[in-house]
Amino acid sequence: MESLAIEAAGLVKTYGDLFAVNDLDLVIPEGMFFGLLGPNGSGKTTTIHMLSTLVRPTAGTIRVAGCDVLKQPVRARAGIGLVFQESALDRNLTVEENLDFAGALYGLPRDTIDQRCHELLNLFDLEDKRHVRVGALSGGMRRAVDIARGVLHRPRVLFLDEPTIGLDIINRRGIWRFIGRLRQEHGMTVLLTTHYLEEAETCDSVAFLRQGCLIGQGRPADLIAGLGAYILELEADNPKHYIDMLSGELGAPVREGERLLFAIQDPDFQFGDWQQRLQHEVRSLQLRKPDLNDVYIWRNQPETTAAGEPA
């Protein structure tokens, strides 16, 4: 039987009248790479804080790494690694001093800390920065050290809250490479949140949050394939006219301002014909593969959210 790393049922968190998280169920098997996606304010951070014992849910039950988080928060924390959106490092101490401190907080013996420190810094290409003050590192390196700090005690479950936020594209790719290596080496369960949805396509499974509610969950490839073969993107001064004109042939589009998105099911869609027909009327017209952003946009439509989840 597959063992579960995270099991949350009926999770609710209210702040006054506001439902930050509303009746959330999560079942994440051991070893899975899971993405919790949604825009800012959708309840991702609150969910991570509840799963990692920092915030008490208003209702619901949580088991993480084999522990009841509400009844045994201290035991649960021993099996959890958490990397916050903001750095959890002391900028005045060196990389090594920070990792030593983090290791001591978990009661790790000195030589274990040394050995893991060496191993992680090598994994993240930071061995030569060992004696550098954290304040002197670049944003990307600091984030990498922070992740090393979060996994020093070999947690069974690692929470990464927006691990790439505020980083440029090169550093973002670097962080994803490190997370990949880490999973390969240690096989730990990783739950991450991000609002850069395209980055989550390497996840085994993703869940979309909107205003604290789950609005879809599944393998990224399945979710994308479920949407259609292509996305036809059309931009025009009078979108209403094109909704009326094209909905019959292409299905109802999603409208974003003056932009219309049509999900095209036909894998042999003849884009050339449409180009000829529309290119002189519209401002732009393009055909592309769908991605997780599109899945979210479709899920986020009031009329399509009730359509259920793809298998």
Partner: protein, 270 residues
């Protein structure tokens, strides 16, 4: 396991303090100004009336002053640390959150003690410090008062959201506690209402305990300790325990941890 963690927290605080050597030395200026300026001025005036050596009388109070500023301010730095990276490491570590308060209290007390011992050395070199009647009582008194100041600082720190108005804490906590403690004058002849306040001030008993250690002959001149040693010790231990209990319970409460979690995520709940 918790032992290693507490040791690491204390070690980190002390490293931080020792790296700020300038601050350590400037902490010596305040008591020396009191001693050399106020002490000399009032001393000269009091000598006309045949009173004892006022500068000697000031020494226990000034040592306590250094502990008050050193330990209490070190505790109050927890408020700043609520937004720091290290607090993120601490709240997610596998021990109960009250250990953060206990470890920080001990490290703040040590920070105060280091400053007090530095002042002891300076006063010794300047010839203002006589050998204490009982060295162990003197050291025990310093430790107890340091813990008292650190524990009360911690209570303020856990109840404060920000320390934006630092002057308020200085004017409404630190200075009144110092002035109303018997550090600058004997309590015996104070008006009843003022005496009542000084008796309710736990810091008075810290000053008094050091007077026992440093001014054993003061009892005859009216310039020495005024309470019994046992009373000084029991009141302080009681107050330390009470303050720590309040600070630990408050810090472990879910809403406090929740707002801390929110601060640690940059104010976001998203």
């Amino acid at each position: 396991m918790i032992g290693r963690a507490v040791k690491a927290i204390i070690g980190r605080e002390l490293t931080r303090m020792l790296r700020q050597r300038g601050r350590l030395l400037s902490a010596m200026i305040r008591p020396l100004i009191w001693l050399l300026v106020i002490g000399s001025g009032f001393g000269a005036m009091l000598q006309q009336y045949g009173a004892g050596d006022y500068k000697q009388f000031l020494i226990p109070g000034l040592l306590c002053m250094v502990l008050l500023f050193g330990a209490m301010l070190a505790s109050l730095s927890l408020v700043y640390d609520k937004e720091s990276g290290v607090m993120r490491m601490l709240v997610i570590a596998p021990f109960s959150h009250y250990w953060i308060i206990l470890a920080r209290t001990v490290s703040a007390a040590i920070a105060g003690l280091v400053q007090a011992l530095l002042l002891v050395v300076i006063l010794g070199l300047m010839g203002y410090l006589t050998m204490p009647a009982s060295t162990s009582l003197f050291l025990f008194g310093l430790v107890l008062t340091a813990l008292l100041c650190a524990a009360f600082g911690m209570v303020i720190a856990v109840f404060s959201k920000t320390l934006d108005n630092f002057a308020v804490i200085m004017n409404f906590v630190i200075f009144p506690v110092f002035f109303l403690s018997g550090a600058l004058y004997p309590l015996e002849h104070l008006p009843a209402w003022l005496k009542l306040i000084t008796l309710a001030n736990p810091f008075s008993y810290g000053v008094d305990l050091l007077k026992h250690a440093l001014l054993p002959a003061g009892a005859t001149t009216g310039m020495g300790a005024e309470f019994s040693i046992l009373r000084d010790i029991l009141v302080q231990i009681g107050c330390i325990a009470g303050a720590l209990l309040i600070a630990c319970v408050r810090f472990s409460q879910a809403p406090v941890m929740e707002s801390l979690a929110s601060i640690l995520s940059g104010g976001r709940r998203g």
